[in-house]
């Protein structure tokens, strides 16, 4: 990307191989990635009174409502974990996943104006959304830590164990999975808009198939027949591992976590291949 003496060669061809992902080009455009992330964070709360406080309000209030509805009215047990911590951990992780998935799945439709005018590696946009979401999640994680310390100080029997160190792996799984699914859906919506409607309620339903508001053990006790469905969900292991590592309750198995990791990596690769194919021709079909 330098002007001056170094000359770049460029070949424009109808189609390249499916897995010519051109990661080098994304690296060349890393400054643009940074600009996109900065833009999303800086502009999301412009002209609001509370500004970045909104990052914290959403998980806190959702947790309070969950405590009332699911913990109080429905009486779903939380494996002996304080309700506030249980729901807060679920919501923080789930929100990250669902928000990045929803936003990345709209990449082509919401950016068609700019994509129609200028070329840059299109993957920059969904990638920036995933990273922006990650930064938001880490900010919200601070709320979790504060509540966590409060409960620890008040003498509740919770303490992190060595499995809490798996947090980066859990984040990678969620990021890869939301990015992978997001770009698959985004690529397909350029032609078939039906998926746009499907995705909004599919994400809502998906939450109930993930141990966000209930622990896996409750499912095992009550619905043994359908437990395979919950276990097939790659996010189950993520949430269970998180709760196991930080709160000492829940179930953990290396197999389940390995399955999730493999699942998310494969999804990401399929997604990138489809995205790569669609980004070259989508202006003609959108």
């Amino acid at each position: 990307m330098q002007t001056g003496n170094s000359t770049r060669y460029l070949v424009i061809e109808p189609r390249t191989s499916l897995f010519n992902l051109n990661l080098k080009e994304i690296w060349q455009y890393r400054d643009l990635l940074e600009m996109y992330i900065k833009r999303d964070i800086v502009t999301s709360y412009k002209q609001t009174v509370l500004g970045p406080i909104w990052f914290f309000i959403q998980p806190i209030f959702t947790t309070i409502v969950f405590m009332f509805v699911f913990g109080g009215l429905a009486g779903i047990p939380t494996d002996g974990i304080p309700q506030a911590l249980f729901y807060l951990s679920g919501i923080t992780l789930w929100n990250y996943f669902s928000e990045s998935l929803t936003k990345t799945s709209d990449t082509f439709l919401s950016n068609q104006a700019i994509f129609g005018k200028v070329y840059f590696p299109r993957l920059i946009v969904p990638l920036s959304i995933t990273i922006t979401g990650l930064i938001k999640m880490l900010i919200q994680f601070a709320v979790f830590i504060i509540v966590y310390i409060y409960f620890m100080a008040s003498g509740r029997p919770i303490a992190p164990n060595a499995f809490a160190l798996l947090l980066p792996v859990l984040i990678i799984i969620m990021a890869a999975l939301s990015l992978g699914f997001g770009i698959i859906i985004s690529s397909m919506t350029t032609k078939y808009r039906d998926l746009r409607f499907l995705i909004t309620f599919a994400i809502q339903l998906w939450m109930y198939a993930t141990p966000v508001i209930y622990p896996l053990s409750v499912m095992e006790g009550n619905y043994k027949k359908y437990i395979w469905l919950i276990q097939a969900n790659p996010l189950t292991a993520v949430l269970e591992t998180f709760k196991y590592g930080f709160l000492g309750h829940g179930s953990f198995s290396w197999y389940a976590l390995g399955y999730s990791l493999l699942f998310s990596v494969i999804t990401l690769f399929i997604g990138m291949a489809i995205f790569n194919k669609v980004e070259r021709s989508f202006m003609d079909v959108i």
Partner: protein, 434 residues
């Protein structure tokens, strides 16, 4: 490859006609089955089909570009000409990688920048300074490069005072100036200028062409220039290509190609479609233009010829008078330069359903060359009261395209000659109503 900047090899682009969405799945499956499973050619591509908009195609697919082969040398200024729909914009879209060619390949040496992407990616909530970084990185500059040129860009844009104000507070002119300032500092090896798309924003157009001249003359960069203005093509470009129905019809020196283009006036048969779907159509519709033809739909007129514009209008609701007006705007800025005033066509009652035909003729050598937007009006003599809306207004839909294969010098135009507003010497002829 050392001195060739761009090399097009057998570039073709195919589009589907009609709506995309319903029924595509079956097409997709059919294509996928034939190509990938049976290993045959795409069944939807037909060979030798020519893209002519005027003839209704029997096929769902059309070639916007067909077998384009040519080379552009480094430092060459190449003009691309052709009538609307000839494939000029598609060619530029493929070159700027917005869309992919269906066949063939292009080899490019150096960075391409296009002057049509002014202000792309501006975010209204961000300040001017933030947007310089955003827009610059979209166009492929690195952060360090932008920082180095930041002061220059701000200076060139002339919006220094507002640079830390969100862009949503900018006037549209300020936004364009800022956008252009960024584009002007890209320093690409290859510059693409599409004048056709820049029509309407006069200041930007002038600046873009000025910048193009600087770039090609002083820096020896490669420039691709798309224009309908033959004078500009001849003055700025050494070589040119003429596109016709998606194919290169002539390739050579700018003079030869322009002569070829002007000697084959191509009729735009579907121009009256413009009357049906243009959003700028105003007026209450009591009387409407239904056909407008400039010199029998010639694509351009030599300034030395007489200009004849034929009109056909229909009276939808009975009216007690009909007046007509024609106003021509400047090709450079959007100001009126010549006008007929309100011309009386009918002073008395005209019944609904009447078809009116008339012609207006303008004496030769009234205008210089250029693309003059026309403002056409039908209405009542006085328009003071609120209920006296015009019947019909067709604004900047039709253009008077005056072109000559002589250069400005040969035509004897002097730069210090005054231009401006004058009354038009015209005649209304052949007024018939039935």
């Amino acid at each position: 490859m050392s001195n060739i900047a761009i090399k097009f090899e057998n570039i073709s682009k195919q589009y589907r006609l009609g709506t995309i969405g319903s029924g595509t799945l079956s097409h997709d499956l059919n294509r996928w089955w034939t190509m990938n499973i049976r290993g045959k050619e795409d069944p939807n591509l037909k060979i030798g089909q020519v893209n002519d908009r005027a003839v209704k195609s029997t096929d769902d697919y059309v070639w916007a570009l067909r077998s384009i082969d040519f080379e552009v040398k480094q430092g060459e200024v190449l003009g691309i000409i052709g009538k609307n729909g000839a494939g000029k914009s598609t060619l530029l879209k493929i070159l700027s990688r917005v869309t992919n060619p269906t066949t063939g390949r292009i080899m490019v040496t150096g960075r391409i920048a296009s002057l049509l992407e002014v202000g792309t990616g501006f975010h209204p909530e961000m300040t001017g300074r933030e947007n310089i970084y955003m827009n610059g990185s979209i166009m492929g500059m690195t952060k360090a490069e932008i920082t180095r040129k930041l002061d220059e860009i701000i200076d060139f844009s002339g919006v220094e005072k507002y640079i830390d104000t969100p862009v949503k507070r900018y006037s549209s002119g300020m936004t364009v100036r800022l956008g252009f300032a960024i584009a002007a500092h890209l320093e690409p090896e290859i510059l693409v200028v599409d004048e056709v798309l820049a029509v309407g924003d006069a200041e930007f157009q002038k600046k873009a062409i000025g910048k193009m001249q600087d770039v090609s003359r002083s820096d020896g960069r490669t420039v691709l220039f798309v224009s309908h203005n033959m004078g500009a093509i001849k003055e700025l470009c050494k070589t040119a290509i003429l596109l016709k129905n998606g194919q290169i019809s002539t390739n050579g020196t700018a003079n030869d190609v322009v002569r070829e283009y002007l000697s084959n006036p191509v009729r735009i048969t579907s121009q009256n479609d413009l009357l049906n779907d243009h959003i700028q159509r105003r007026g209450n519709g009591e009387v409407r233009f239904i056909e407008i033809a400039v010199n029998n739909d010639a694509i351009f007129i030599d300034p030395a010829e007489e200009i004849r514009i034929k009109f056909k209008a229909i009276v939808n609701t009975e009216v007690d008078q009909i007046y007509f007006s024609l106003l021509l705007k400047s090709p450079v800025h959007d100001d009126p330069i010549a006008n007929t005033g309100r011309v009386c066509l009918f002073r008395n009652h005209v019944e609904a359903g009447t078809i009116i035909n008339f012609e207006i003729s303008i004496v030769p050598n009234t205008f210089r060359t250029g693309l003059f937007p026309m403002y056409l009006w039908l209405g009542k003599e006085a328009e003071l009261a609120a209920e006296n809306y015009p019947f019909d207004v067709v604004d900047s839909v039709y253009y008077l395209n005056l072109n000559s294969n002589k250069s400005q010098k040969e035509l004897g135009y002097k730069s210090d000659q005054p231009g401006g507003y004058f009354n038009l010497n015209y005649k209304i002829e052949n007024l018939i109503s039935k």
